[in-house]
């Protein structure tokens, strides 16, 4: 393991149990992961492998049943709701499969959203939102609403929103799941560019050709890490589950 100050995510023996009626589901069974600053990680695994649970914990949307999670030097496993909200706001930029844009709001307003909760003044919000939209090549779509945008443009708005508060990690959950292959390529190019400029990216996907763009693939199975650096080059695309 390298010098830990360069690690942005450290998890130790991370477990998560869910109560489903009378049964306890062990969604994660002791996961140890180290992710360095500026890494580009893909998280893969069949359904039921625990990758969604893993993403929710990494994204501070949920707290582990046991274990430790250090994000950007801060232990977050025991934080309460409000502290987690603050961490999500400052440290994490979410990109969702279904974009999750507010339908009645303009691109600009959608991108401003995290800054509202960061307590940034209106004028600075606008400035930073415009900058983020320019970064994803949407300078000419600032006043458009989601229904006036293509799928790729919507996801780019979502990426601008994820980045606007300068998070330490970009957390993408199947970011190309709702896009055709040409648009997927366009989004992946944005990710690659962001990675090149120093952004740490963690991306959940079940598509091997998408995962192949990442530097490293973490493979989950049955709530445990199967591989920290899976070799997916031998897997044929058709085998994607």
């Amino acid at each position: 393991m390298e010098a830990s100050k360069d690690l942005i995510i450290i998890t130790r023996d991370l477990t998560k149990d869910y109560q489903m009626g009378s049964e306890t589901v062990h969604a994660l069974r002791g996961v140890d992961v180290d992710i360095g600053r500026n890494e580009y990680i893909a998280v893969m695994g069949p359904s039921g492998s625990g990758k969604s649970t893993f993403m929710n914990l990494i994204g501070c949307l949920d707290t582990p049943t046991s274990g430790e999670y250090v994000l950007n030097g801060q232990a977050v496993q025991d934080l309460d709701d409000d502290e987690l909200a603050r961490i999500r706001n400052r440290e994490i930029g979410f990109v969702f499969q279904t974009f999750n844009l507010l339908p009645r709001a303009t691109s600009l307003h959608n991108v401003e959203l995290p800054l509202i909760y960061a307590g940034v003044s209106a004028s600075e919000r606008r400035e930073r939102a415009e900058e983020a939209l320019r970064m994803v090549d949407l300078a000419d779509r600032m006043e458009h609403r989601p229904n006036e945008l293509s799928g790729g443009q919507r996801q780019r708005v979502a990426i601008a929103r994820a980045l606007v508060n300068r998070p330490s990690i970009l957390l993408a959950d199947e970011p190309t799941g709702n896009l055709d292959s040409a648009t997927s390529a366009e989004i992946m190019a944005v990710f690659t560019h962001l990675h090149d400029t120093g952004q740490t990216i963690i991306m959940v996907t079940h598509e091997y050709d998408i995962a192949a763009r990442a530097e490293r693939v973490i493979m989950l199975r049955d709530g445990q890490i199967e591989s920290h650096d899976a070799d997916i080059s031998a897997v044929p695309h058709a085998a994607a589950p």
């Binding site: 949307l61 909200a85 979410f94 959203l113």
Partner: protein, 414 residues
């Protein structure tokens, strides 16, 4: 998130669902409309009674001696009624007693009337009028002014001349064209020559005075009176409120002495002032304003429940949005603020509309009826306060539900 941000968000949300927002407000609008309309009318009445009515019935610094109360708000018991009925009728002798009791500078007048009558001139007639036989000075004590011609003179009274000063409604009805001065009108079989027309008073009860005929008491007593020699009331006008109080005590003492009432016996006459009337009005006013909160509360509770329902629907429709906001860093308090601001602004808008409709309604009532309207500033503050209170109260439960949503579950909602 700041309060300002919450309010902005609330306004844009409400604006983007204008129709739904409006319908959810009907309860609050009705409640506040009712509140404002009733307060406006009651306050208008209040002002009227205080500033106009009391003065127009009694004159200023004036009290009357009567056999029994003629203007009474509130109920008279049977016992009281029987007691007053036993009181002797007032006569010119009593006028002498009253005159002897009060100091110089105090005006004493007397009058009588026969309830509602009709008056004719040629083929024209006017029903529901009052013919009042008044002594010299009666109209000035009552605060009536003559617009055309002249008032009654001491000579008219002394000679028992059959002359009349008529109200403007009668002048309009009987003499639509041309002056009534010098014309002879008929009340029953008796003819009176019109010598003057009173100025219009208007207002709630002005109609009664505007359709009255004043004739000299002596002529009235000779011709129209159903009770010759008997008076309806003796009015005493003092130069100041203090002098009025003193005069009342003097008159009461002199009347008791004249009627040889022993100290243990009650007065067998009644002294009537505007303050008695005003305190009776205050009672009625109090009852109106006590009943009002109950009625308004019912409408506001219903309005609040409707808003709560709409907010609950809104929370469930916007579950995904709430999840997203939380994922992006909204704390529970931010979501709480957002929804509370929305329900409060919504309800406040309802209150605002209610104020507008209520004031409008009161103005319509004022225009169509003689009821006066006056909206006190505190009722507006009350309406706004109630609006915010209803919004906050009905927003708490939906807002808490929204604030407590689990972002993971919320984001997964379709």
């Amino acid at each position: 998130m700041s309060l300002l941000e919450g309010l902005r968000l609330a306004l844009s949300q409400i604006w983007s669902h204008k129709l739904k927002s409006f319908f959810s407000l009907v309860g609050v609008i009705i409640g506040i409309t009712f509140l404002i309309a009733v307060i406006t009318i009651v306050e208008g009445m209040n002002r009227y009674v205080r500033e106009d009515f009391a003065g127009s019935i009694f004159g200023i610094n004036t009290f009357t001696v009567v056999r029994r109360p003629t203007v009474q708000m509130g109920r008279m018991t049977d016992e009281e009624r029987r007691r007053y009925a036993r009181n002797p009728q007032l006569t010119m002798h009593d006028v002498g007693v009253v005159r002897g009791a009060v100091p110089a500078g105090t005006i004493v007048t007397w009058d009588s009337d026969r309830g509602f009558d009709q008056v004719r001139y040629g083929e024209r007639e006017r029903k529901n009028i009052r013919v009042i036989g008044g002594s010299e000075g009666y109209s000035s004590v009552q605060g009536w002014t003559v617009q055309e011609g002249r008032g009654l003179s001491p000579l008219d009274e002394r000679r028992g001349l059959k002359v009349a000063v008529i109200g403007p409604d009668i002048a309009d009805k009987l003499f639509p064209a041309g002056s009534p001065l010098g014309k002879e009108i008929r009340v029953g079989p008796f003819r009176f020559q019109v010598v003057g027309v009173f100025q219009r008073r208007g207002g709630l009860l002005g109609g009664i005075w505007d359709a009255a005929i004043l004739v000299p008491f002596s002529a009235y007593d000779e011709t129209l009176s159903r009770n010759p020699g008997k008076l309806e009331e003796i009015s005493v006008k003092a130069p100041s409120p203090k002098a009025m109080d003193a005069a009342m005590a003097d008159v009461e003492g002199a009347m008791r002495a004249d009627r040889r009432l022993r100290p243990a016996r009650d007065d067998n006459f009644y002294l009537q002032t505007s303050s008695g009337l005003l305190s009776a009005w205050d009672k009625i006013n109090g009852i109106l304003l006590t009943a009002l909160p109950g009625l308004v509360s019912i409408a506001l509770v219903v309005g609040g429940i409707v808003i709560m329902n709409i907010m609950l629907v809104s929370v469930s429709q916007r579950t995904r949005e709430i999840g997203l906001r939380k994922a992006l860093g909204a704390r529970q308090s931010d979501v709480l603020l957002q929804f509370l601001a929305e329900s409060s602004v919504l309800s406040l808008l309802g209150a605002g509309l209610g104020v507008g409709v209520g004031v409008g309604l009161a103005q319509v009532v004022q225009a169509l009826t003689p009821l006066p309207a006056s909206t006190p500033w505190w009722s507006l503050a009350l309406a706004i306060g109630l609006g915010v209170a209803v919004g906050l109260t009905s927003g708490v439960y939906p807002a808490r539900r929204a604030a407590r949503l689990d972002p993971i579950v919320a984001l997964r909602t379709e």
